[in-house]
Symmetry: C2
Subunit: 173 residues, 2 copies
């Protein structure tokens, strides 16, 4: 098989969102074992002016959802950002996966040179071709927020290893 816009995007987002859901399970289990409220983890930040854990998860979901909607032209659902527990964050990940699963590869393939205009910050936009947008915007942002979520849990004592990040539940299967 030849690499394509769909093969370079959809399986990556799906695998890593599955791993993120597994990492959330480990955070929940850690909080229960240590008898503290998991919401403490959700509000944790690595620096006072970094986003808290919950926002890392929401952005890790919205990045591929909105990015693939722009690339494919298939409208994505909008969510209310009301998640306040780990099970609710896992449901958000699942809804994101449901959208990605609904995308036909042929809506994504061949889009390399499609001009994508997307919001940057509060009141600016930027335009990139879809291949560059995927490689230099959506994917690096996606990995940034997943790794930051991992780092927050790791910094708080949750027993996670690279295998959880790379393979999630499949690592121990």
């Amino acid at each position: 098989m030849t690499i394509s816009m769909s093969s370079a995007s959809l399986p990556v987002f799906k695998a890593m969102l599955g791993n993120l859901s597994h990492i959330l399970d480990k955070g929940q289990a850690h909080a229960e074992a240590k008898k503290f409220d998991p919401v403490v983890l959700l509000q944790y930040r690595l620096a006072p002016d970094m986003l808290p854990f919950t926002r890392q998860i929401l952005i890790a979901c919205d990045g591929p959802k909105n990015g693939m909607a722009r690339i494919s032209g298939v409208e994505a659902p909008k969510f209310d950002d009301t998640e306040a527990t780990i099970p609710e964050l896992k449901a958000r990940i699942q809804k994101t996966l449901d959208y990605l699963d609904s995308l036909p590869a042929d809506k994504v393939d061949g889009t390399e040179d499609k001009e994508i205009t997307f919001p940057v910050g509060r009141d600016k936009t930027r335009t990139m071709k879809a291949e560059a947008y995927l490689k230099h915007w959506v994917l690096p942002n996606f990995y940034f927020h997943i790794t930051t979520a991992y780092a927050i849990l790791r910094h708080n004592g949750v027993e996670l290893g690279k295998a959880d990040y790379l393979a999630g539940a499949r690592a121990s299967a």
Copy 2:
């Protein structure tokens, strides 16, 4: 243009390694401004059993270097892992960029189904096809170590933003 194994890998590694070098400059400048030894940052870990900053940088370099060597079949230089200062880490990044710059795209293109066997942990190997190896192993590991390095600096008060991570020195150019 159609996405290819070379276009999905080389420009991504080069852009992000450039951004990483820029992030290191900001760490160095922060230490100098605050009058502490930058080596403190190099030894910092987000958790006692996570790797320190220096190792995050070395792995962020070796991942694409060794990964692309396996994919392309073009032998990569070996380095001694003796870096002990930020300028030395920046030189390591530059040597990695020099190797990546030396790779002809046609050694990378068309390798999607090539079987790649690579070391996992101390005494195991794993085999994946090159496209899967790039997407599900080399790239997620690469982003993991760059983001963790960013998080270590951010946690230690270095003034970094997403623009530094996504665009490096180009963000302020």
